[in-house]
Amino acid sequence: MSKLNQLFKEKPNRLCSVYFTSGYPKLNDTATVVKNLEAAGVDFLEVGFPYSDPMADGPTIQESSSVALKNGVNLDIIFDQLAAIKEQINIPLVGMGYLNQMLRYGTEKFCEKCISVGIETLILPDMPMIEYETIYKDLFAKYGLTNVFLITPQTSEERIKKIDEMTNAFIYVVASSSITGAKGTISEEQIAYFNRIKSYNLKSTLIAGFGISSKETFNTVCSHVNGAIIGSAFVKHVGTNGVDTIDAFVKNIIN
């Protein structure tokens, strides 16, 4: 069983995940960010692979990726940074990037590297479901990797159920029709959407993301789904305050 699924078994609710951009704010901050987030009580991490043209990211994450790339980060550096701290961390890691990064790096090599540094799950938001089914599912399984699909308020019930069948990790519930970091509150409409998804009685763990930025939004979301991912708010925080104040940031949200 993957670390992530073990976690879901032990802690089915109020799961807190944080997205961070590797190589940001400074090239060598990655290890400190991971360690500090684990120490602060985050349940699992989304390791962002900075990309030049991130289609589904908002301005905050895009800007952080741009800075990280200017800092000189690349996939090899990220894998090396994670490999160096592998023995010191227990927290499950989820890799988040774009399909082109994996294709260009070499799919097999990419999978091998991810597993070797402790990334057991991937989020590649532009991977078509049909390609996952026909090309990547078996390949990921060969390396022990799982894949996460996103659903949005516009995703049909039929498609959500199909995603649920294919999921061995969690379903990423995009909390609103927006790019990351665009909103700061959870509306009645969004709650109705969470409740609609819950009514489908899916087998998968549901983790919401996009627009979760405070204790209030985290608590609201967690009362409807299993947990939440904090992305832009965290990236903005470390960009402004540096990596030494991570503990306070996280505790302010989850306690």
């Binding site: 990309y51 030049s52 043209d53 289609m55 589904a56 908002g58 895009q62 800007e63 741009s66 790339l69 690349n74 996939l75 090899d76 774009y98 399909l99 082109n100 990064q101 994996m102 294709l103 260009r104 790096y105 938001p125 532009d126 991977m127 078509p128 049909i130 390609e131 699909f149 996103l150 659903i151 949005t152 516009q154 995703t155 049909s156 498609r159 995009v174 029709s177 927006s178 790019i179 665009a182």
Partner: protein
């Protein structure tokens, strides 16, 4: 079925597909499920062809260029897309897509633009159809294409500057996609080239296919044969080339020549010659050939021509390149400028900088006196006048030395 048409899954050979975040899936699926029925309907065809004729000014002439022909020792014809309303081939596509958008009940139109020709064409059809129009344009392009920015604003469009990355077409496209993600239900994304997720490349190619459809009958009328030996068109994303090639793709005796922008030179690090410098990858929703580094990061392209300043090509062109059905050449900034001045002097036609790239390869080809060549003159040069004036001043200064 033609091996150069898109297959049922949206692929041209290994290229194409729809690599999009889930947030865009419903929009793209809605379009995919409906576009062929709409385009093939009698009502659409009637309105589309009416507007192309009475509003756009089609058919555009197929002009035999006697002086250019003399100079290069071949029979050279210019397909005069520059004579379309709004000054380029772009309007063929926007007329078609605005009708599709209306059919789908969309009220808000977004578009991206490089040179501004697609932005102007989109703003024009939005004005015609009384629809809200937002055009994303790179900050750099806003500066270098000021007349087109003014046109868009006058036509009622909101022009939004893309300030990320190279601040050119690629970044404008990213911003447009983001806007679409944030307004998925009411918004129609009117893509200006044969790029993006399926069905856009196929849809735009079909709407531009009017160009080759006309070339076929016009050439027959003038020469007795509907097939030329060679068709030349410039390629950024590739919509004018897709339109010029469309009805000739299966006529393998016709050489299809795609001309990319080499910028300051293929190996200069300042280029947009994707087929020469690119590798297979995914950009803006489709698998194609794109300029990227060893980690899949997209490399900023460069060309003097904003319309060719794009790091990828459409998947159809990637397929034509991959199967060697197309001949891919390139022209530098200077070669394009020289070709623009040459056409202006020889034929009294000031071409768009994009089209000048297509013209620039005439001197690089081994032409014969009986060879019939059609160059797709995709747009007119009004928007590039500032660049031409700078070049003119340089030439005059050189002459005075």
């Amino acid at each position: 079925m033609s091996k150069f048409q898109v297959d049922k899954n949206g692929y041209y050979g290994q290229f194409g597909g729809a690599y999009i975040p889930e947030l865009l899936y419903p929009n793209v699926k809605e379009l995919e499920d409906n576009y062929l029925d709409i385009i093939n309907s009698e009502a659409f065809q009637k309105e589309y062809l009416y507007l192309l004729k009475q509003y756009v000014g089609r058919p555009t002439p197929l002009y035999y260029a006697p002086n250019l022909s003399d100079k290069y020792g071949a029979h050279i014809y210019l397909k005069r897309e520059d004579l379309n309303h709004t000054g380029a081939h772009k309007v063929n596509n926007t007329i078609g897509q605005i009708l599709i958008a209306k059919h789908l009940g969309k009220k808000r139109i977004i578009a991206e633009t490089g040179a501004g020709q697609h932005g102007v064409a989109t703003a024009t059809v939005c004005a015609l159809m009384n629809l809200e129009c937002i055009v994303f344009m790179g900050e750099v392009d806003i500066k270098r294409q000021a007349p087109n920015v003014a046109r868009m604003k006058m036509l009622g469009a909101k022009v939004v500057a893309a300030t990320s990355g190279s601040k050119t077409l690629k970044d404008a496209t990213n911003e447009a996609i983001r806007d679409w993600i944030q307004h998925p239900e009411e918004t129609y994304y009117l893509i200006g080239s044969v790029v993006g997720p399926h069905p856009y490349p196929d849809m735009v190619a079909r709407l531009q296919a009017i160009i080759s459809e006309e070339i076929k009958w016009q050439l027959k009328e003038q020469t007795g044969k509907e097939n030329p030996d060679t068709i030349i068109a410039c390629v950024g994303g590739g919509s004018n080339a897709a339109g010029a090639f469309y009805h000739y793709m299966d006529d393998e005796e016709v050489d299809l020549v795609a001309v990319e922008a080499a910028g300051l030179g293929i190996d200069s690090g300042e280029s947009a010659a994707t087929s020469q410098l690119g590798e297979v990858g995914v950009i803006h929703g489709s698998k194609t050939i794109l300029m990227q580094d060893e980690y899949g990061q997209i490399i900023e392209p460069y060309s003097i021509s904003a319309g060719l300043d794009y790091p990828g090509v459409g998947p159809l062109h990637a397929h034509l390149f991959d199967t060697k059905r197309g001949t891919f050449l390139n022209a530098t900034d200077q070669e394009a400028l020289d070709a623009a001045f040459e056409l202006t002097k020889l034929e009294g036609i000031i071409p768009a900088l994009e089209s000048s790239h297509a013209l620039a390869v005439l001197g690089k080809m081994d032409l014969s006196k009986d060879q019939v060549v059609v160059v797709n003159l995709s747009g007119r040069g009004d928007k590039d006048l500032e660049t031409y004036i700078n070049e003119l001043e340089k030439r005059e200064a050189r002459n005075h030395e």
